[in-house]
């Protein structure tokens, strides 16, 4: 088997077209990876500049009322990870800016896709585009006539007479071509590491390994499928036509059809419906029996009892701060209810899409690639959750200052100094660790592995029955 493998490689390297194509891919990967890193760095710089600019305004805040500051609010800018330079996932279509303020939970807005004319339907020319579209096609090109041409030229008979096992020959061909895909992957990874050497941590390395492994398995699927078809079909033209047809269906057709189907299976509400339901709960009370006016009266009664006084003016604290925080707490419950439902629905859609990998391994690859790069929907929802959690702490800090900072009820002109505002922590997004989150991708991993094993088994089975 080793000899056949070596012989295959020698054969490949004697082929000038192969050599030129390989050189082209190496150069293309180097340039594309480098451009991906540059683009990502520019975006990170822009994000950092915006973040600093907004924070500076907060730090320079004049002595003011904490509730006024809650309305002034802050902004969370969606950060780009290093691996965004390989696969940007959903980042171009989701918003980048989230306003964090009192009373309201806002939407993340200003997506890159909404800021210009449409350019590419398949995304930017990043390594993932080459990994997902071009390298598989290159592997198909290398593998489609690997056995058919041996058969057409009569070389196959000669090899078998010499005592070579057909099974070994087929598998040596699969692995010799697969290794080329792996080497191209490793090369792109090396370029990525060189340009980002200072920014790698254990999580990033783990993510990168996860990403390479996913593509590695997918390339094994593509190579073994092409060789399998080459084994089964009698001529190389039919073999190429069928393989390309499958490639087109997998990469172009099915992801869109599956995306549409999962949205129809578990539909999302329209924004109007969603907002109306939230507004209703916000005004009438989450269980429909607790109007906000009643809630305020209950809180007043409880607070007066707690401080053993008869009126709000006798309170040693500012009751307005307590009311606003109670309203925030209530708003958070409403948010949790509605957004929880929405996120569950989105996660259900994601799970169904993951299951579409059973008929289309490309979907599983896409999921794993975005997941490893930290740019899929799970990571986007995680950003939104962390930002909302921060907003709650941020607004509570301001409301607590209003309530317990020394002002009295009704004193809206009371101010607190700049040192307090400076002491409020800024929002910092913590990317989740892949070692904790890998189970979210279990379906994709299993599906991809099953495809690889099934195709290898099928090829093994067919190689015993192939007509010479």
């Amino acid at each position: 088997m080793k000899d056949i493998f070596v012989n295959e490689w020698k054969g490949l390297f004697r082929n000038r077209v192969f050599l030129y194509l390989t050189l082209f891919f190496i150069a293309a990967l180097a340039i594309v990876t480098w451009l991906g890193v540059i683009q990502n760095q520019k975006q990170i710089e822009a994000q950092n500049a915006a973040h600093k600019h907004i924070r500076a305004q907060w730090d320079e805040m004049k002595p003011s009322n904490p509730h006024g500051a809650a309305h002034f609010g802050s902004y969370a800018f969606k950060p780009n990870t290093i691996l965004n330079s390989i696969d940007e996932g959903v980042n171009a279509v989701t918003g980048n800016v989230l306003r964090l303020e009192g009373h309201t939970q806002n939407d993340v807005v200003y997506s890159e896709a909404s800021q210009s004319l449409l350019i590419s339907k398949f995304g930017k020319l990043k390594p993932s585009l080459l990994f997902q579209f071009i390298i598989p096609l290159f592997l198909i090109f290398l593998a489609f006539k690997t056995l058919a041409s041996e058969r057409e030229t009569g070389r196959l008979k000669l090899l078998l007479i010499q005592g070579i096992s057909l099974r070994n020959l087929v598998f040596a061909k699969i692995f010799s071509i697969w290794v080329i895909g792996i080497l191209l992957l490793l090369f792109a990874t090396l370029v990525q590491i060189i340009f980002n050497v200072n920014q790698f941590n254990s999580n990033t390395i783990l993510r990168l390994l996860f990403l390479i492994s996913s593509y590695g398995i997918y390339y094994l699927i593509i190579t073994s499928l092409t060789v399998y078809i080459s084994v089964v079909l009698k001529n190389s033209t039919a073999s190429l036509s069928l393989t390309i047809a499958i490639w087109v269906v997998w990469t172009i057709f099915l992801p869109k059809i599956a995306g549409n189907a999962v949205e129809k299976l578990s539909p999302l509400p329209t924004r109007v419906e969603f907002q109306e339901a939230m507004d209703e709960d916000r005004s009438k009370g989450i269980d429909g029996h607790n109007p906000s006016g009643d809630r305020k009266k209950e809180l007043e009664k409880a607070t007066l009892a707690k401080y053993k006084v008869d009126s709000l003016s006798q309170l040693p604290i500012n009751f307005d701060g307590l009311v606003m925080q109670a309203d925030e707490d209530y708003g958070s419950t409403v948010w949790d209810k509605h957004f929880g439902k929405l996120y569950k629905q989105l996660q259900l859609q994601k799970r169904n899409y993951q299951l579409s990998g059973i008929i289309n391994p490309f979907s599983s690859l896409q999921n794993l690639s975005m997941g490893a790069a930290g740019t899929d929907m799970f990571h986007h929802l995680d950003f939104l959750k962390q930002a909302e959690n921060y907003r709650r702490v941020f607004i509570k800090t301001l409301n607590d200052k209003m309530a317990f900072g020394g002002s009295k009820t009704g004193d809206w002109s009371w101010t607190t100094d700049n040192a307090f505002y400076k002491s409020v922590n800024d929002f910092e997004y913590q990317q989740p660790s892949l070692s904790n989150d890998w189970s979210k991708y279990l379906i994709d991993i299993l599906v991809l592995l099953s495809w690889a094993i099934a195709l290898l088994a099928l090829t093994n089975y067919s190689s015993k029955r192939v007509s010479i």
Partner: protein, 435 residues
């Protein structure tokens, strides 16, 4: 002429005998129906949402009219509201600015899912408000996109052409009887071009029927529809010529197929992807800090200004204010100023938005400058422009929203400065003005 006719007839027989080609063509037709269904679906969904908004607006108006009828000044739990003043009457007037779905939306969803298409207009609104965002959608589905009709034409139709034509002259070369073609037809090149034309004609006819059918169904047989037919024809001719050159320069059907799919990848995926990447490097995604500053920091600074200063700034925006009752008073009424200060923040927002739109314009010009080597993006944006689902269509919508905001603010400012008393009749007049 007769030769061409016979060749077309020969190709027709070849086509109907090839199960794979007929299957691919039928699949394309089915996919077209599915894509149009998706487009109609989105159109209906948008129309339903807009109907519910219209209903909500009417309910709001009815409620306010009933307050006038009953002599109420506002809701019972909000004693500070007084709809007999222009400020509160206009603050409570439900005003919406909407973008009706384009009648040609089923032919191309374009960027319709990237933008909002309805907006509640208040005197504090701006065109980059939070409620101007797109409908709730799965972001991963947005990344993958829809099987919409324009996607089928721009990206999948060339693949169908590959399936239909990759063995023209290739099969003859594979089976070594290509010399016979020279003997029989005289010119191989003409023979190839005529065979290719057969498929191009079928595809032009099929797509044109779909375009015209949608136009007729939506009662919008406009010049845009004929421009779409023309654009589609030119696009098919473009690919026909590209494939023609590949066929005459190749030696076998597998070589033709591989070159065709590679060219498809270059034109449809790699070049647009490379331009997209270049645009992102040159113009990274905008975090809109100009607008955020205007909306927050600068707006807050306004509240700290003295009424006299604000009065002057308001008069700078609307010079005719000096002719109003309050404009002719020597004393500045703080309440009137506070009630009309939104005109100043609107002006600040507009200035910031003009900068953002200008930055986007530069970005779009850069994209347009790539069209000469990026024909697929050109066709895509031209198509979206004809179906009114591109960036420009939504920019026009933003401009309309801004006009609506300006109108409401101007009405409020002048009515407040004229110290108008609002009754039912005046309110109904407001509704007419803001319609």
């Amino acid at each position: 002429m007769m030769k061409a006719y016979h060749l077309f007839l020969y190709e027709y027989k070849h086509f109907i005998r090839s199960k794979a080609k007929v299957f691919a063509f039928i699949l394309f037709v089915i996919a077209s129906f599915y894509a149009l269904y998706n487009g109609f679906n989105l159109q209906n969904k948008q129309q339903e949402t807009l109907s519910s908004i219209e209903q909500k607006k009417q309910e709001g108006i009815t409620k306010i009219l009933s307050w006038y009828d009953q002599g109420k000044k506002g809701p019972e739990d909000r004693s500070w509201i007084d709809i007999t003043t222009p400020f509160w009457a206009l603050e409570n007037t439900p005003t919406y600015s909407i973008k009706l779905p384009s009648p040609l939306l089923p032919l191309g969803i374009g960027q319709a899912e990237q933008y909002g298409y309805y907006k509640s207009v208040t005197t504090w609104s701006s065109v980059y408000d939070n409620d101007m965002v797109e409908e709730l959608a799965n972001p991963e589905r947005l990344v993958n996109g829809n099987i919409d009709f324009s996607f089928l034409i721009i990206f999948l139709l060339p693949i169908l052409m590959i399936i239909l034509t990759y063995n023209i002259n290739g099969l003859e070369k594979d089976l070594n009887f290509d010399k016979l073609i020279v003997i029989q037809s005289g010119s191989t090149q003409k023979w190839i071009l005529l065979r290719l034309s057969f498929y191009s004609t079928i595809l032009v006819a099929t797509v044109s029927v779909f375009i015209l059918a949608v136009a007729l169904l939506n009662n919008s047989l406009t010049s845009e529809v004929f421009a779409l037919v023309l654009l589609n024809t030119l696009y098919i001719i473009f690919w026909t010529l590209v494939f023609y050159f590949i066929i005459i320069k190749s030696n076998s059907s597998s070589s033709i197929a591989f070159k065709m799919i590679s060219i498809w990848l270059i034109f449809c995926v790699l070049i647009p992807g490379a331009v997209h990447q270049l645009v992102s490097i040159k113009y990274p995604a905008n975090y809109m800090t100009d607008y955020l500053d205007a909306n927050r920091k600068e707006a807050y600074e306004i509240y700290e200004l003295a009424p006299d200063t604000l009065s002057v700034r308001l008069k700078n925006i609307y010079p005719d204010l000096i002719k109003t009752k309050h404009g002719q008073d020597n004393l500045v009424d703080k309440e009137i100023i506070n009630n009309t200060v939104s005109a100043i923040t609107n002006q600040i927002n507009k200035d910031a938005i003009a900068k953002i739109e200008y930055q986007n314009k530069i970005k779009n010009n850069f994209i347009a400058s790539s069209y000469w080597y990026n024909p697929v993006s050109f066709v895509q944006n031209k198509w979206n422009s004809l179906t009114a689902t591109d960036y420009t269509a939504y920019q026009d919508y933003r401009n309309n929203v801004q006009k609506s905001i300006d109108k409401k603010i101007e009405l409020q400012v002048f009515e407040c400065w004229n110290r108008k008393k609002v009754d039912k009749k005046t309110f109904e007049n407001y509704l007419k003005i803001l319609k």
